[in-house]
């Protein structure tokens, strides 16, 4: 079993764990955390692909590595935006939950402007 296979299994498991967390965690912050876990699994998958593509004197294919770095930046921005929204939601409503307490129909005051 090669390095790539070990970490491929590890990445797939991290994706699975992240998915599970995203599905069942009731708290938005835990969902954000689970998304980060899921994302890290995806990135390691790119790393495995890069490692398998070692050639031409490179120990690892540089293209997937570059994609991962771009991906990490995007994932961090997403986390920051989500956390900001969540904290503001807490500030405005006093609660931090994604559950729709009321059905869409009875939502009181859709804006019009």
């Amino acid at each position: 079993m090669s390095i790539a296979s070990v970490f491929a299994l590890c990445a797939a498991a991290a994706v699975g764990l992240g998915l599970y967390g995203l599905l069942v965690s009731p708290q938005p912050l835990r969902k954000i955390l689970a998304f980060n876990l899921l994302g890290s699994g995806v990135f390691v998958l790119f790393g495995v692909v890069a490692r398998r593509g070692a050639a031409a004197g490179f120990a690892s294919d540089p293209i997937p590595q570059a994609l991962v770095i771009t991906g990490i930046v995007v994932a961090f921005s997403a986390t920051a935006l989500a956390v900001a929204l969540l904290l503001r939601l807490l500030q405005v409503s006093g609660s931090a939950t994604l559950a729709a307490h009321s059905s869409a129909r009875s939502s009181r005051d859709p804006a019009g402007t």
Binding site: L22, L23, V42, L67, R105, P110
Partner: protein, 598 residues
């Protein structure tokens, strides 16, 4: 119709226009961010005509060359570099995006003013910058030739769309934005996994190179299923629509218009690129039927729940849900039974036309709904009596926009419907004919429901709280008219339209009856299902009718109440997320089955 197999590494004439289409809005947003204050709006408004001109120039260039426009970024050829490619689909989507963005920009001038005395205000600053960002992201989505560049473009789109949802800062909209963001992130993670697998299998992410090499192997099938479902989550196809109604209904009108008309089309367009461009031979019949079945369910559920809304903006948002379903009906119709491949023929043209006419019509509808809200201070459908007299132009924009969705002869939706029906006939898939016709009736149903209320007698002018800007009404009307007249555009330069489909005389009896039936059916549906009841009857005949209808209506209301509860259940987070995984598995299994049949 341009050659479907574009050249790989030859830069074609006029290709720098593709770069400009992305660079101009990006430069605009950077400059607006740096300048701040009142310059934000000025810079954005200057960018609008520039971008529109570029989109038109691309459409003309494509018409002249009759082959896809290709540009190699940094002069690096794929697979190492990234290519931009514009075919007929891209050019059309870019053009319609430019039109809608310009319309929304004109509309938004009045709404996003900096208050007197302030040098800069939050909402205008964010709105104009995000509007330009959405434009850049969409243009990138339409021309990017590389799956990872598409991912970055998709994220750009999400990052620009989410803050628009919560621009007014109320708790509900913040919650809607957060739901939207997290669900969209789940979708993009799935898309990214798929790209990793495809790179691992083929060593490239270039769309054309991939389409040449693609074989059915485990990595390809898993990637196809995960990427598709990730994009469906971002498109809010039933049952993955948990985020759409609150987000689109809660946002300010100009934002709702952009979100509903354009943003969901971005991820939809990537599904089309993926299925028709990268892997036309892979999905097979079962997977295509599955997508269209979800679309049909979206039409039924979205329309029925729309009919049961008390508020206009939510009705329009649920109508978007139904119309998104309509877009996915083309997948099985485009499948060539002889080769089991997706063919870029009439069905694809119909689907894209539907997307285009929905873009303009829905933008107009959200704008006029916003105008009514601003003028009345509420948007309860039952409180709209007399509005048609008080605000004739706003109501007219709504009426024309809704009419354009139903598809009278000459409109874009009419042409789209003709193409889809023809493809269904040719393929012997009569069940989709039924769905397409029913979809028209449902659309007419909620359209009529609103119109009847606005036309009812009442004194709305006394209740008007604010004056409505003529410019805003004009912007909404222009977009609605645009959608109504789209059928007259020379589409065959860009889309593969079978001969005869476009040529039918719009004034024949058959063509007119195609408008009449949806409206009659819609009237029945609105009477039976409409929550906001009907205005009080004054004629004896009406009273008689109501007496006959009442028991039937009671029965149907029970059914539609059940459907509404189903919608509520599906929009619970765990249920929606589980549906996402289930659909991924069904798609994977369907594709696997299609491959083992061969």
């Amino acid at each position: 119709m341009p050659d479907p197999a574009p050249a790989l590494d030859a830069v074609t004439a006029g290709a720098f226009l593709l770069v400009l289409a992305i660079v101009v809005p990006v430069a605009g947003l950077l400059a607006a961010f740096a300048a701040g204050g009142r310059w934000v709006e000025r810079i954005a408004l200057t960018t609008l005509p520039l971008g529109l001109a570029i989109a038109v120039a691309i459409a003309i260039a494509l018409w002249r060359t009759d082959a896809p426009i290709v540009y190699l970024l940094g002069a690096w050829a794929p697979p190492l570099g990234v290519a931009l490619r514009a075919d007929g689909l891209s050019a059309l989507m870019m053009a319609i995006t430019a039109v809608v963005i310009c319309g929304v920009g004109i509309f938004a001038c009045a709404d996003f003013r900096i208050p007197a005395g302030a040098t800069e205000a939050r909402a205008p600053f964010a709105f104009w910058i995000l509007l330009l960002a959405i434009w850049a992201a969409l243009n990138m989505v339409f021309v990017a030739g590389d799956l990872f560049t598409l991912y970055v473009a998709l994220e750009l789109l999400t990052f620009a769309a989410v803050p628009l949802v919560s621009l007014d800062g109320r708790a509900e909209t913040l919650q809607a934005a957060l739901r939207y963001l997290i669900f969209a992130l789940l979708g993009s993670a799935f898309y990214l996994v798929g790209s990793a697998l495809l790179y691992g299998a083929y060593g490239t992410l270039d769309i054309v190179l991939l389409s040449h090499q693609l074989r059915a192997q485990p990595a390809t099938l898993v990637a196809a299923a995960l990427m598709t479902v990730g994009l469906l989550a971002k498109t809010a196809l039933f049952p993955l629509h948990l985020w759409l109604p609150p987000a689109h209904a809660g946002a300010p009108a100009a934002c709702s218009a952009v979100l509903s008309a354009l943003v969901v089309k971005g991820s939809f367009f990537i599904v089309v690129r993926l299925w028709f461009g990268v892997m036309p031979g892979l999905p097979g019949s079962a997977a295509a039927q599955l997508l269209a079945a979800l679309g049909a369910a979206a039409i039924v559920l979205g329309s029925i729940v729309a009919l049961r809304q008390e508020r206009l903006k939510l009705l329009v948002a649920y109508s978007t849900l139904a119309q998104i379903g309509y877009l996915f009906l083309m997948f099985p119709l485009a499948l060539d039974p002889a080769t089991a491949r997706l063919a870029s023929g009439g069905a694809l043209a119909g689907g894209i036309l539907q997307a285009i006419s929905h873009a303009t019509a829905k933008a107009a509808m959200f704008m006029s709904a916003g105008l009514l809200y601003a003028a009345l201070g509420h948007d309860r459908i039952s409180g709209l009596a007399g509005v048609a007299r008080a605000l004739p132009l706003s109501v007219l924009a709504f009426a024309l926009g809704g009419m354009a969705l139903i598809g009278p002869p000459g409109s874009g939706a009419y042409l789209a419907k003709t193409l889809l029906l023809q493809a269904a006939d040719d393929g012997g898939q009569w069940w989709w004919t039924v769905v397409i016709q029913a979809g028209g009736m449902f659309t007419a149903g909620y359209w009529l429901l609103v119109l009847v209320h606005t036309l009812a007698r009442g004194d709305a002018s006394a209740a008007l709280r604010a004056r409505v800007s003529r410019l805003q009404e004009a912007a909404a009307l222009a977009l609605a008219l645009c959608s109504l007249l789209l059928g007259l555009f020379p589409w065959d330069a860009y889309l593969a339209i079978p001969a005869g489909a476009a040529a039918s005389n719009p004034l024949t009896l058959k063509a007119l009856s195609s408008l009449l039936w949806p409206i009659v059916g819609g009237a029945v549906l609105a009477t039976l299902l409409g929550r906001s009841g009907l205005p009080p009857a004054r004629l004896r005949v009406e009273n008689l009718l109501v007496a006959v209808i009442r028991p039937v209506r009671r029965g149907v209301l029970v059914l539609s109440g059940t459907i509404e509860r189903l919608d509520g259940a599906l929009r619970q987070w765990p249920v929606a997320a589980i549906s996402l995984l289930v659909i991924a598995m069904l798609l994977g299994a369907a594709m696997q089955a299609a491959q083992s049949l061969d």
